[in-house]
């Protein structure tokens, strides 16, 4: 196979790849070899992967090809190359969570539930992807594993903490990826890298085998270059896992079969107030473009949303600090210093304030929920700004000079605080850095949000464009 043909194969999306493999037009091995070749050729520019598992990826692909030869169903993701943020357990490998202190941790005994689900559906895991240390950041700047570079401008951040996963999809190194989202770690990099991202409802997907950050807020999520591709990944990730106590008791609700169905009258509102303050004009223009396309006419305010963001901020630091307390006592020098100081401070937060944050969470959840009797989708910017230069610590915003690492999630944090599902629709155009818009729904309304995103994609409003860096 020529190099050109290999690149074209690796550019295929999830649904196209699976269809081509299932129909026999391509073998899974051809597809995975092409993705591996492309990753080897390009990833030195982006640093998306922390580890490539060539043998395992090919083994998965050959298993799919053998199933097809036998006449067995290879699964809905037959031959689809995917990546997983380096906090997902992969059997036989050490889950580093982007941390030097975990370099010598024992290897995982089995795949994380999400990895296992995608493999069972026929997907081939290419390897593990770069992230902020212990998922505590929004930039994927990592002292130990290096920075992930945005495929649309390699001098800029990819966003984080699932930056390697989003950038790999944007650069066409894999058809889809799985990341995690505690405060915005799927939504921020999806927006900055210009791909679709899904953070489902809290409790929807199994977290078994995912290295935790904040138990109260951690979600499994995914990235793809198309909405149908995102739906296919999400569908494969669903299913009851009796070994995950945090998973909700919900029936599987497939999104792909109805992805092109039209919702007769979608009731859409635009979040105002807090979600307008601090945003750069282009972030608000992106929301306006989506609002026009979906017929949103009203502006909605979330009650006490700034307090919600603050409560999420404190809860994250406190639960994260508590999780890491033992290691902070033993080997604080092993941590990225920016992460270490935040975790130590979090471990020092008085219990009374942490409980207060959890009490406020109940109040905020109950105050927001009635809005969904009036609206099916609420729109908000995913980030206040496009990708900033790597190494830039602060950015001037309406509230003053603020940390990029801590504040890129200004608009995502209050939403994940109460576990609402969100699809990020990317708005990209040649010569412009990508931005994303959050499509926020009532709990368990992922399928409807995916249909709304598909409508934006079909109308040419949400779009993924090939990064300019790939033309260089």
């Amino acid at each position: 196979m020529s190099e050109v043909a290999a690149s074209e194969l690796a550019d295929l999306g999830v649904v196209q790849t699976a269809a081509a493999v299932r129909s026999g037009r391509l073998t899974a091995e051809q597809v995975v070899e092409a993705a591996l070749a492309r990753t080897e050729r390009l990833d030195n520019r982006f640093n998306c992967f922390t580890r490539i598992d060539v043998e395992d990826a090919l083994k998965c692909a050959r298993k799919t090809d053998r199933a097809l030869k036998r006449g067995d169903d290879p699964g809905p993701l037959a031959g689809v190359p995917f990546g997983a943020k380096d906090l997902y357990d992969v059997a036989g490998e050490t889950t580093t969570a982007g941390a030097r202190s975990r370099a010598n941790a024992p290897p995982a005994e089995e795949d994380a539930a999400a990895v296992s689900s995608l493999k069972r559906a026929g997907g081939a895991l290419l390897g593990s992807q770069n992230m902020d240390e212990f998922a505590y950041g929004f930039t994927t700047e990592n002292e130990h594993t290096g920075n992930t570079h945005n495929p649309h401008d390699v001098t800029r951040i990819a966003g984080g903490s699932s930056g390697g996963s989003a950038a790999a999809v944007a650069a066409g190194l894999c058809a889809g990826s799985i990341g995690s989202d505690t405060n915005g770690s799927v939504r921020v990099p999806a927006a900055l890298c210009g791909v679709f991202g899904l953070k489902p409802t809290y409790g929807r997907l199994s977290r078994r085998g995912v290295f935790p950050f904040v138990h109260s807020l951690d979600h499994v999520g995914c990235f793809a270059r198309g909405v149908a591709d995102l739906a296919a990944l999400y569908d494969a990730l669903q299913g009851h896992d009796p070994r995950d106590a945090s998973q909700a008791d919900r029936a599987v609700e497939f999104a792909l079969p109805g992805v092109n169905a039209a919702d007769r009258k979608l009731r859409v509102g635009t979040l105002g107030g807090y979600f307008h303050e601090s945003a750069m004009p282009e972030a608000l223009e992106a929301v306006d473009e989506v609002a026009d396309a979906l017929g949103a006419s009203e502006e909605v305010e979330l009650p006490e949303v700034e307090r919600a963001r603050s409560a999420a901020f404190v809860l994250s630091a406190a639960e994260g600090g508590s999780l890491h307390l033992h290691n902070l006592q033993r080997e604080p020098q092993q941590y990225d210093h920016a992460v270490r100081d935040r975790l130590i401070a979090g471990a020092m937060m008085p219990a009374g304030l942490v409980m207060r944050a959890q009490r406020f969470r109940r109040w905020f959840r109950d105050a927001v929920k009635p809005l969904f009797q009036q609206y099916d989708v609420l729109l908000a910017p995913a980030t206040p700004f496009p990708a900033q230069p790597i190494g830039q610590k602060t950015i001037r915003m309406a509230r003053g000079e603020l940390s990029v690492r801590a504040n890129a999630g200004l608009y995502t944090q209050p939403i994940s605080f109460i576990g609402l599902p969100v699809v990020v629709a990317p708005l990209t155009a040649p010569g412009r850095l990508p931005l994303g818009v959050q499509l926020i729904g009532a709990p368990w309304s992922e399928a409807r949000l995916i249909r709304a995103a598909r409508r934006l994609e079909r109308d040419g409003v949400a779009r993924v464009v090939a990064p300019t860096e790939l033309a260089a």
């Binding site: 901020f313 404190v314 604080p332 020092m348 406020f360």
Partner: protein
């Protein structure tokens, strides 16, 4: 009210209680993070929650 000096003192004392060895200059760095956290905490702590509002620790949306 928190000040840089009393936050640094809080960081030093609490680190001792938690058995965390702060490196030289570490208390000031942690105090800077505490300053941010307490500012956020004030945001929701001053909100008048009804007493029956329980912590949402077993969370279901």
């Amino acid at each position: 009210m928190t000040t840089p000096a009393n936050l640094e003192s809080y960081a030093t004392q609490t680190a001792r209680l938690l058995d965390i060895n702060l490196p030289r200059g570490g208390a000031a760095l942690v105090a800077a993070q505490l300053d941010v956290l307490f500012a956020h905490a004030r945001m929701f702590a001053e909100f008048d929650l009804p007493p029956e509002c329980e912590p949402l620790t077993e969370y279901q949306p």
